[in-house]
């Protein structure tokens, strides 16, 4: 049997799944002061009367890292950059003043300026005097040649032997130096607390006689063994929305293009599943004010929900973006969409008399009937959400492309279904679907879609390989791994074979070896390097991916 537990903002939900059947559900309120305790409470409630030996797999999704960062509980980190020529480091918005070292690597990985080791020693002493225990060292193009990052890290660690030092190329090898710096910074800031949490979880589950493997859900909807996730704590940020999206994927027909609408009190979260694959944000997640390289589903948060403020201006109804409190029918301060839905009989929460009173004030300002006023409020909410959904599709179409065929093809997609999750969804989703010309789906288990998503999500895996045959070397973006290649004429087929071999090794290290064979090439390019009029070598890039998906057993 499979277990999925999602520690969400309001409740912690858990499900027990046997094959294709949902056997049991439990939930407890989330206590942000003690996430481990609510996780275990939900787990214990679920496991009452269940034989722990029958559990084959446990997957957790938690707001731990999100909360740590939002509440400023992450540890302070000293930021050391080797930016080389280009942007003034002050223009990078990293939220803190970096220490800048002279030195430079170029796009091919050539050293174009030597590292200033004296500056590195001075940086170490300064950080040590500040009493810092964490240091992040990131060099521009450090992923193409990490010698300067390594050297700077080594010098600093001699001065601060107890400090934990994170090097940019080890965290991610994607192009985009400021994002790499931010991701490295967050990794350094959260690693210790995250490790402690995973150890506590592992211990607690062992005490409960669970011998099944335990996984954590990442922001890209993939699972990773708990003990392997400690190296990349920030990958687990936003695992809550990822869990919901995976849940919808599990609860709706395959290969569909769907909009997921999660309507809450204050905000509505929108996500897209395009031909069966959840849409990832194109460059990486934004965490508070930092842009990162973290692979995460694209979730758009719109400031409109059941408790949004309803305003009347010039015979028009305006809803949101503010929330002043609960709906009037629930004892709140003023009229809200929830009051309108109560009046129209679309929901039965709250007090009808209060709802009528709230809508009455709107109706008199508009000089229309009570029902008409309520309808106008609902229409305004639906129109706002529909326009945001259309905008999302448009933005996806407008994603920049760098090849002729991509511009010429210019794929267009339309929603086939609108899937509602979250408390406010059931009454509104049919109306949104109708406007979009799509089918409305509110899955039976929508309230625990998140826990189901966690339970049945499979691992994801990515590997970006770059080969430079002129220099006779390759590098892997994900782990800062480098190696040698021979011969100038490597072709794409050979590069893909090398990528597959490296992916299999990486999967093995991550404890998800069986997944590697499912990897597909999602991107590959080859460039002849021509100097003068002759070819001196080739640059090859290959990306292998196992995208987010559902365990095979669930569908059948």
């Amino acid at each position: 049997m499979l277990i999925g537990i999602d520690v969400g903002g309001t409740t912690t939900d858990a499900v027990l799944i046997d094959g294709t059947r949902i056997v049991k559900i439990s939930y407890v309120p989330t206590n942000h002061g003690d996430l481990l305790k609510c996780l275990l409470n939900a787990f214990d409630l679920l496991m009452k009367g269940v034989d722990p030996k029958k559990v084959e797999r446990v997957v957790l999704s938690t707001t731990l890292i999100t909360n740590m960062i939002a509440e400023g509980k992450a540890q302070p980190v000293g930021l050391v950059l080797i930016p080389g020529p280009g942007t003034n480091p002050k223009d990078y918005q990293l939220g803190q003043e970096p220490i800048v070292l002279d030195g430079a690597i170029d796009f091919r990985g050539h050293e174009i300026q030597k590292l200033n080791e004296d500056q590195a020693r001075m940086a170490g002493r300064r950080l040590s005097n500040l009493g810092l225990k964490k240091v992040a060292v990131i060099g521009k193009f450090g992923q193409r040649n990490h010698s300067q990052e390594m050297k700077a890290g080594e010098i600093i660690s001699q001065i601060m032997p107890d400090a934990q030092i994170e090097l940019g190329h080890r965290v991610t090898g994607q192009l985009n130096f400021p994002r790499r710096a931010a991701t490295t910074l967050l990794t350094a800031a959260t690693k210790d607390s995250y490790r402690e949490f995973t150890e506590q979880v592992a211990r607690a589950l062992k005490e409960r006689m669970i011998s099944a493997p335990v996984y954590i859900l990442k922001a890209d909807g993939g699972t990773l063994p708990l003990e392997k996730s400690v190296e990349m704590p920030v990958e687990t940020i936003f695992s809550g929305p990822a869990a919901s999206i995976m849940g919808v994927l599990a609860l709706t027909p395959v290969e569909q293009t769907s909009v997921i609408v999660d309507i809450g009190g204050t905000t509505t979260d929108l996500a897209l599943i395009l031909s069966g694959e959840p849409l990832l944000s194109s460059k990486g997640a934004r965490v508070e004010n930092l842009l990162t390289h973290i692979r995460a589903f694209a979730v758009k948060s719109v400031a409109i929900g059941g408790d949004s403020v309803v305003n009347v201006a010039q015979d028009c109804v305006d809803v949101g973006p503010r929330r002043d409190g609960a709906a009037f029918c629930m004892g709140g301060p003023g009229p809200t969409p929830t009051d309108a839905m109560r009046v129209l009989g679309m929901t039965d929460i709250g007090d009808l008399a209060l709802a009528k009173k709230a809508m009455g004030s709107v109706a008199s300002k508009l000089r229309v009937t009570l029902e008409k006023a309520a309808q106008m409020v609902v229409d305004a909410v639906v129109a706002k959400i529909v326009s945001e959904v259309e905008q999302m599709f448009l933005e996806w179409e407008q994603e920049p492309a760098y090849r002729v065929w991509e511009i010429v093809e210019n794929e267009k997609l339309q929603a086939q279904s609108v899937v509602g999750v979250g408390g406010g969804a059931p009454p509104l989703v049919p109306l949104i679907a109708k406007k979009l010309g799509a089918k409305s789906i509110v899955p039976e288990y929508a309230p625990v879609a998140n826990a189901i998503g966690a339970a049945v999500a499979r691992p994801t895996l990515t590997l970006n390989l770059r080969v430079d045959t002129e220099q006779g070397s390759y590098s892997v973006a994900e782990e800062g791994l480098t190696g040698k290649v021979t011969g100038r004429n490597m072709n794409l087929e050979q590069a893909e074979a090398l990528a597959r071999k490296l992916l299999a090794e990486r999967a093995e290290r991550l404890g998800i070896g069986e997944q590697a064979k499912e990897a597909e090439v999602t991107y590959s390019e080859i460039f002849n390097m021509v100097r003068g009029w002759s070819t001196v070598g080739r640059l090859l890039d290959v990306r292998l991916e196992v995208p987010a998906g559902i365990l095979e057993g669930w569908r059948s």
Binding site: P85, D91, D106, F107, F141, L175, F177, Q398
Partner: protein, 459 residues
């Protein structure tokens, strides 16, 4: 540089950037205009995270339509056979930025797209100077047709003379074309001398500044400060556009100048173009990543002082006194031309009758085509006058194609319209030509007539 433009819009907002490296298009595998050209530029600007900055908005290009091309060029035998999809994207990039600028989405824009365009002339039989269609000119015609702009200035900062752009706007008094470039006696295409000043109705609206090989940042900024900027101030264009070639760089393999990334960035800061369009530049590792970063930063109002090529040091390049004097003399000569442009025009026109005629020979270096043209413009008192071009293209020893082209300007007078149509109709039976083309800019309608098959194509 407030005050250059007639309508200073004082735009606030983002810099629009279209990065279109055409990673799947090349003239030939080892040609300088190949897939690899913007690869390292991609690495540099992506690694810098420029697209993430709040000052910059990355836009996706749309495809130009065949009509957009026909508005600018007489393509022989037709538009379809002179372009690939890559050309439609590169031309479409400029128009995407034009729209974004007009809609107020961006304050300025940079089309960092290939293939380039400034060697493409009004009549197109093939590729010359790596160019098939003129992205800059296509954007200018679009700005005028769609948004009604009249006075536009193009400053061509590529190391090669932009003979294509010059040809297209030669007779147009409302388009100021200024090009500085390495002296044509030492570099392709061998033109762009001070005596090339525009047609008799547009004298002084084409201004060429040939510079000696080895000219540095100092020389180019001397020209900018003492000539280009003052002339722009006089002309008061509604838009300033930069044909932003990057081959004045000291490492460019195809030219011999000594311009630096800092020089390029500060040029764009001073010039403050509304839109930059990439032209040439083939030092793909040693110049382009740095020059492009600097231009983007300058346009977006960011600090570009940290941009530096690995082998550049301030003071590395100096100009001899002799070179300084020669540049100063050229600028003085051009300032005279600019000052006396109305007199020059009067005296030129007084010597001519109703028509101005010239013969041209054009060599297409990429496609090895020799074209000869006979061009005729009516010197009309009521409008810019209609134009005809009789063009014959030869490849090897045989005739490739011939066309009789008729162009009606925007705002043409009744008599020019009628005469132009008559010319078009008359030549439909003229067996001397394979094709007869009509470019009616006034009605924004374009036709190509095949004399043998009697088929007509409209755009």
């Amino acid at each position: 540089m407030a005050g250059i433009k007639a309508e200073s819009k004082g735009r606030a907002g983002k810099t629009g950037l279209i990065f279109f490296p055409a990673f799947d298009w090349a003239i030939s595998p080892t040609h300088p205009e190949r897939e690899e050209r913007l690869l390292y530029t991609r690495d540099q600007i992506f690694e810098e995270g420029l697209m993430d900055l709040p000052q910059i908005e990355e836009l996706k290009p749309r495809l130009a339509t065949l009509k957009d091309i026909a508005r600018t060029h007489f393509c022989v035998p037709d538009v379809e056979s002179q372009i690939t999809e890559a050309h439609l994207v590169a031309a479409g990039s400029t128009m995407t930025l034009a729209d974004a600028l007009e809609n107020g989405e961006i304050k300025n824009g940079f089309s960092l797209a290939r293939p380039p365009g400034h060697h493409s002339m009004m009549v197109v039989h093939g590729n010359r100077g790596f160019c098939n269609v003129n992205n800059m000119a296509i954007m200018v015609e679009y700005f005028r047709t769609k948004y009604g702009h009249k006075k536009i200035a193009i400053v061509d900062t590529d190391v090669h003379h932009g003979d294509g752009t010059q040809d297209i706007f030669w007779h147009d008094p409302d388009v100021l074309y200024i090009s500085f470039h390495q002296d044509g006696r030492t570099l392709y295409p061998g033109s762009g001398f001070t005596n090339e000043m525009g047609g008799p109705q547009a004298l002084g609206r084409t201004l060429n500044i040939p510079l000696p090989p080895g000219t540095t940042d100092e020389g180019i900024h001397y020209v900018l400060d003492n000539f280009i900027l003052p002339v722009l101030k006089d002309f008061k264009p509604e838009l300033v556009l930069n044909s932003a070639g990057q081959d004045n760089h000291f490492t460019d393999p195809l030219a011999n100048m000594r311009f630096s990334a800092q020089g390029y960035a500060s040029l764009n800061e001073k010039l403050a173009p509304d839109i930059c369009v990439l032209e040439g530049g083939y030092a793909i590792e040693t110049a382009l990543p740095y020059v492009n970063t600097g231009i983007i930063q300058a346009m977006a109002g960011l600090d570009y002082s940290h941009v530096k090529e690995p082998d550049f040091a301030p003071g590395r390049f100096t100009q001899s006194d002799e070179m300084n004097r020669s540049i100063e003399d050229t600028v003085d000569e051009l300032l005279d031309i600019w000052k006396n442009r109305d007199l020059l025009m009067e005296s030129a026109q007084s010597e001519l009758g109703d028509f101005y005629r010239r013969r041209k020979r054009i060599f297409y270096d990429t496609d090895m085509i020799n074209e000869s043209q006979e061009e005729s413009v009516r010197l009309c008192k009521d409008c810019h006058g209609y134009m005809t071009i009789a063009s014959t293209a030869q490849r090897g020893y045989g005739i490739l194609n011939s066309a009789y082209c008729v162009s009606i300007p925007r705002g043409a007078c009744k008599s020019c319209k009628e005469d132009a149509h008559e010319e078009f109709e008359e030549h439909k039976d003229d067996r001397k030509f394979n094709y007869v083309c009509l470019q009616d800019k006034d009605r924004d309608s374009y036709q190509i007539y095949d004399v043998r098959t009697r088929n007509r194509k409209s755009y």
